[in-house]
Amino acid sequence: MESEIRISAENIAYSYDGRPAVDHISFQVGKGEVLGFLGPNGAGKTTTLKMLVGLLVPQDGRITILGRDIVKERAAVQAQIGVCFEEKSLYEDMSAAANLKFFASLFGVRDPDIPGLLGRVGLPVDRKDRVSNYSKGMKQRLMVARALVNNPKVLFLDEPTDGLDPVSSEAIREVILEEKEKGVTVFLTTHDMMEADKLSDRVAFINEGRIAALDTPDNLKHEYGKRILKVRYRDGDLLREEEIPLEGEGSGRRIQEILREYMVLDMHTEEATLEDIFILLTGKKLE
């Protein structure tokens, strides 16, 4: 339904000194949906995000967030979105609570629930020291908390778990899922396929500024992936391993042969990963 669309990008493009970074892409994201925006470094993920949040003006096309044009109504849109950048951008000489309070005041939030926000991202509530003393993971969690300070309807997260320890990464993933449950739309750029698979309702593969595919992870796997059966068996003194495509002709016959003639040590099916599909579609690895 049209009213459910929270993010709409229509044919947007952006070039740096004539070199296209984002080349006329279109997509929409609905209420309560998490869109994983996947691509290698330099694919155009961050440029797209910066256009969506009003830091860059698209050179072509149109973006509406919550039904408002981001270029024409930048401040009104920004009042209802939360943004978390990949690069740390905190006031390091202030405490975590002071950082959140300051940003809340810019949004006009009179009585922000600072302990609640800190607690949600797993940061100590009563810590009064400067953010400069925090670890990288703690700073990133604070950045996520800052993005939530105005109770946004749309959340933009740029590589939120990149380079973080497992505990911090998990804390951030939990917050993303909680926000999704509340009906918040999440635009998530990442090059972590596992994370995208876990969190996203749909994923968009972006490569050289263009969207190579956009669908649910299951549909992508179904359409582009191959299911295989991996079998390890003993052939006399030799230990052999074989991959049998499940959809291929003669697969059943071959499986029967192995089971009949050899001693099977183990066998299991394997599904294509998003990374496999990305490589298939773009010829590139996600790094």
């Binding site: 740096y16 000194d17 961050t46 440029t47 910066k50 949040v53 009003g54 830091l55 860059l56 003006v57 270029v71 930048r74 401040a75 009104a76 920004q78 009042a79 979105i81 943004v83 950048f85 690069e87 740390k88 951008s89 905190l90 006031y91 390091e92 000489d93 300051f102 940003f103 005041s105 810019l106 949004f107 006009g108 800052r146 105005n150």
Partner: protein
């Protein structure tokens, strides 16, 4: 543009760890202390001599004034001698007829002798005290026409007085020029400018907040410095110059902040430009140098009017045109500031740093 957001940003910029901010607050007190202890200026009380015919009503009223050193002259001649010999700053002869006119609510003409070497501040205080005393005998506001007679040459400048224009420029420059530049560059270095610009805050609000903070500090500290040293003899004139000077320096500060990538480049730019800011002040200090050179530079029109008013007691008639030139410079520098804002936006869009479309 939101006043609330501007205030929030301005408040946050007052970070006590910013060395420029610390210096901006301490500089007036430091220089005032130099004035007080090295040049002994602050202890110089205004000195007034009065010769009053008949019952000493004005003298009695003045005797209660603690901020004044009063000398009662025995005659008009004695009073004139006191002024000529620089024993007092101002001398006033109050004759009986004048007093009777004032008592009747009529206009009286008062002859005032002024020591040419006295400080404008001391003259102003002495005259204000005298007028206050005259108010006591007049039914309404005393209608007094003052005829000033200057006795003695204008004195040569002391080292302290020569120092004044330099200090004024330093206080204004640190407050209105260094502070906004450092605020802006720090936000760029920390990448917090980008974080601000994805909230409803616009770049214009950031610039206004930082510029206003510098302006208020510069103006406040300029006033403190003058009050602690030579005083503010002609408040509308002096405050106008301080205000316009701070606005102009604020424009330079914002340009510097927009142009500089980081603190290092900011300091490098400042070093190359500072000679044009402080240089003209040297011409004020050394009047024998060709003044037309100094008049080419804006800071001359900040330092010189304040100097002439504070030290020589000049007014709008003498230095008003310089205030107009200063206003002209303030308007003129809006153009390069606007150009830098536009350039910064374009560069930001190229680098993906920010957008100015608010």
């Amino acid at each position: 543009m939101s006043a609330r957001r501007i205030l929030v940003l301005a408040k946050k910029s007052l970070n006590p760890r910013n060395p420029y901010l610390v210096f901006a607050f301490l500089a007036p007190f430091f220089y005032a202390a130099v004035f007080q202890f090295v040049f002994n200026l602050g202890k110089d009380e205004p000195r007034l001599a009065v010769y009053e015919e008949g019952e000493p009503r004005i003298v009695s009223a003045l005797e209660g004034n603690q901020g004044l050193r009063l000398t009662v002259a025995e005659s008009g001649e004695d009073l004139r001698r006191l002024v000529e010999e620089k024993k007092v700053d101002v001398g006033a002869i109050i004759d009986r007829e004048d007093l009777e006119r004032l008592e009747a609510g009529e206009e009286a003409t008062l002859e005032i002798y002024v020591n040419g070497e006295s400080l404008a501040r001391n003259r102003s205080i002495a005259l204000a005290s005298l007028m206050d005393a005259l108010r006591g005998v007049s039914p309404g506001a005393p209608r007094v026409r003052v005829e000033t007679v200057r006795l003695g040459e204008e004195r040569p400048l002391s080292v302290m007085e020569m120092f004044l224009p330099f200090i004024i420029i330093i206080v204004i420059v640190v407050g209105a020029y260094f502070l906004p530049a450092s605020f802006l560059v720090t936000e760029k270095e920390r990448r917090t400018l980008e974080a601000l610009l994805v909230t409803p805050v616009s770049l214009a609000e950031v610039l206004v907040a930082f510029g206003l903070t510098g302006l208020v500090i510069s103006l406040g500290m300029g006033i403190v410095l003058l009050l602690l040293t030579v005083g503010i003899p002609n408040p509308p004139l002096v405050l106008s110059v301080l205000f316009l000077g701070s606005v102009l320096a604020g424009e330079w500060g914002l340009i510097m902040g927009l142009a500089s990538r980081d603190q290092t480049s900011m300091v490098a730019y400042m070093k190359s430009i500072n000679i044009f800011i402080v240089g003209p002040v040297l011409f004020v200090i050394f009047p024998s140098w060709p003044q037309w050179i100094a008049r080419l530079f804006p800071t001359y029109y900040i330092a010189n009017p304040i100097f002439r008013v504070a030290i020589y007691g000049e007014g709008w008639k003498e230095v008003g045109w310089q205030v107009l030139v200063l206003l002209g410079f303030t308007i003129l520098f809006l153009a390069p500031l606007a150009a830098f804002v536009a350039r910064f936006g374009k560069a930001g869009r190229r680098r993906g740093a920010l957008s100015l479309s608010a």
